[in-house]
């Protein structure tokens, strides 16, 4: 594969980045990569399966490989900034997921291949009837599955849980 910049030398540096939530791959020769300020070492790590810290470090570095701009304000609840998050690889509180939602959605998609939860639904006290019906139908799916796999202990438990929720309606 030829370098995308000079189209002369063989591309040896392969960089994957996320821009506007789209994954983008860049293939460069070492010379052009240096001109763009990308070291072969960083790029290789990123092109493979990057550990989270490397991935986040990539988000933080300047230049063309910066895929996501800094969220300007720190989280109003816990005070963590986008830079803190990148450094530690951890958010500070549940509100961070709302505050940094755009950036996190891209990151989650990259890590998990999805940004939509498909597991257990959780109902807080503030949940409405739609939430509750959603949860009942999710539990019914799990019940069906438990019966199919002859996991009768789980099935009995789910049946009781569904019954308890339905009688609460």
């Amino acid at each position: 594969m030829l370098c995308e910049d000079c189209r002369e030398r063989e591309a040896e540096v392969h960089l994957t980045s996320i821009e506007a939530e789209e994954m983008r791959s860049v293939h460069l020769c070492v010379g052009c990569a240096n001109q763009r300020g990308i070291s072969a070492e960083t790029a290789e790590t990123v092109a493979g399966a990057p550990p989270l810290a490397d991935f986040l470090a990539q988000l933080g570095s300047s230049g063309p490989q910066t895929p996501i701009p800094d969220a300007s304000e720190p989280c109003p609840f816990c005070g963590i900034s986008a830079a803190d998050f990148r450094k530690a690889g951890r958010v500070g509180c549940s509100q961070c997921y709302v505050h940094f939602e755009t950036q996190l959605r891209g990151l989650l998609r990259r890590i998990h291949g999805s940004s939509q939860h498909a597991g257990k639904l959780y109902l807080s006290e503030a949940s409405d009837i739609t939430d509750r019906l959603g949860r009942i139908s999710s539990m019914r799916r799990r019940l069906k599955r438990a019966i199919e796999t002859e996991d009768f202990e789980t099935a009995a438990e789910l049946r009781d849980r569904i019954h308890a929720m339905e009688t609460r309606e």
Binding site: V91, L104, Q116, H117, K120, R142
Partner: protein, 379 residues
């Protein structure tokens, strides 16, 4: 009722009795990460907030049916050896012991008669977990799921309609679920098939580690295989997938063992008996050396080359042959040299006992018994 600060004793060791496929799969574990609404995550919380979280969890556990008759320990009030014992039993992670400014708020709730419990104020407010012997991921999940339902009904949890359960690290978000099996696969290592298998594991979205989780080295051919992603799939799918892949790895391991038995039976037997002989006779035994030798013996037991020890004994030695357990048994802190001596004595005694029970000739697979465990060394 929950009991505070009870002696650790034998708590949380139920898994060592084993379960399905126990010769190859030591244990199955499921944990889910949960956080409370309205509190910063532990890494960002102050000492008071962490204390508040512990108090709420303690109170909720009191009303959770699956924790009835269980135990509660605040890490700060345990001595160093007890803390290490909890780590050695895989009931808490080493991260839970990280020093913090002010009281750590780190705590453990443990069920009365199983290895199901809650680690409090580690990276997330709650890590609900269950550890069971053998290959039994569904059973571990069932315990965790039940506890999660109970706790979730008592404490408001941090949840996002799209991202699911919210966690400090984005790699845990969604189900918050990490399921893992601790598997012993010496056949694949000896036949050098292991790298292919591990590569395969990575390709299907699973990951592997050493005995002590993230960042730990692989010792004694024990690998921990777990799911890598937590978002976008149901809990049951994640667990099914790991269970199915584990089943495949077990098949490969069995295949590798039968190749070894057919093509190099004497090499294999020699390896097994040497491992047994050293464990049965050594007067000083390092931890890593012990792990590696236990692997050889486990293989021998599994292939019926050895009549004893029992798999349960091997599991027990893996736990109690560790430093803090030896220190507790000795009633004193031990230097590395002292620990190696205590470990050797402990292992010899355990194996001798099983040998007597099974009527196996000591360290000699064929006939005339030679006395391996010689006269007392005088100290």
């Amino acid at each position: 009722m929950i009991q505070d600060a009870a002696p650790l004793d034998e708590r949380g060791l139920d898994w060592i009795r084993g379960g399905g496929e126990a010769e190859i799969v030591l244990s199955s574990r499921v944990r889910v990460a949960r956080n409370l609404q309205g509190f910063p995550f532990p890494g960002r919380a102050g000492a008071e907030e962490r204390a508040d979280v512990v108090e709420r969890v303690r109170a909720a556990a009191e009303h959770a049916e699956s924790m009835d008759g269980g135990f509660f320990w605040e890490v700060d009030s345990l001595d160093t050896v007890d803390r290490e014992i909890l780590v050695e039993r895989h009931l808490i992670s080493r991260d839970l012991l990280a020093p913090r400014r002010g009281p750590s708020g780190a705590a453990l709730v443990l069920a009365r008669e199983s290895c199901c419990g809650v680690m409090v104020n580690e990276e997330d407010h709650l890590r609900l977990q269950a550890l069971v012997g053998g290959l039994a991921l569904e059973s571990a999940w069932r315990q965790v799921d039940r506890l999660d339902e109970e706790i979730g009904a008592l404490l408001p949890l941090a949840y996002h309609h799209q991202f699911g359960f919210l966690t400090a690290c984005p790699t845990n978000v969604g189900t918050g679920l990490r399921a893992s099996v601790l598997i012993h696969i010496p056949g694949l290592v000896l036949t050098k098939e292991i790298s292919k298998v591990l590569e395969g594991i990575s390709q299907v979205g699973l990951t592997y580690r050493g005995l002590y989780g993230e960042g730990s080295e692989v010792v004694g051919n024990f690998f921990q295989i777990s799911n890598q992603t937590t978002l976008g799939k149901t809990e049951e799918d994640l667990i099914d997938h790991l269970g199915r892949v584990t089943g495949k790895v077990i098949d490969y391991e069995r295949g590798a063992r039968s190749v070894l038995l057919t093509e190099a039976p004497s090499v294999l037997e020699d390896k097994v008996w040497r491992a047994y002989g050293i464990l049965r006779a050594a007067r000083s035994l390092g931890l890593e050396e012990m792990m590696n030798l236990l692997s050889g013996v486990r293989l021998g037991v599994s292939l019926k080359l050895l009549k004893s020890p029992r798999v349960e004994t091997l599991n027990e030695i893996l736990v109690r042959g560790q430093l803090a357990h030896l220190e507790r048994a000795a009633g004193a802190r031990l230097s590395e040299h002292e620990a190696d001596v205590c470990r050797a004595t402990y292992v010899r005694d355990k194996l001798a006992k099983d040998e007597r029970d099974a009527g196996q000739a000591p360290a000699d697979g064929t006939s005339d018994a030679t006395v391996v465990d010689g006269p007392p060394s005088g100290g």
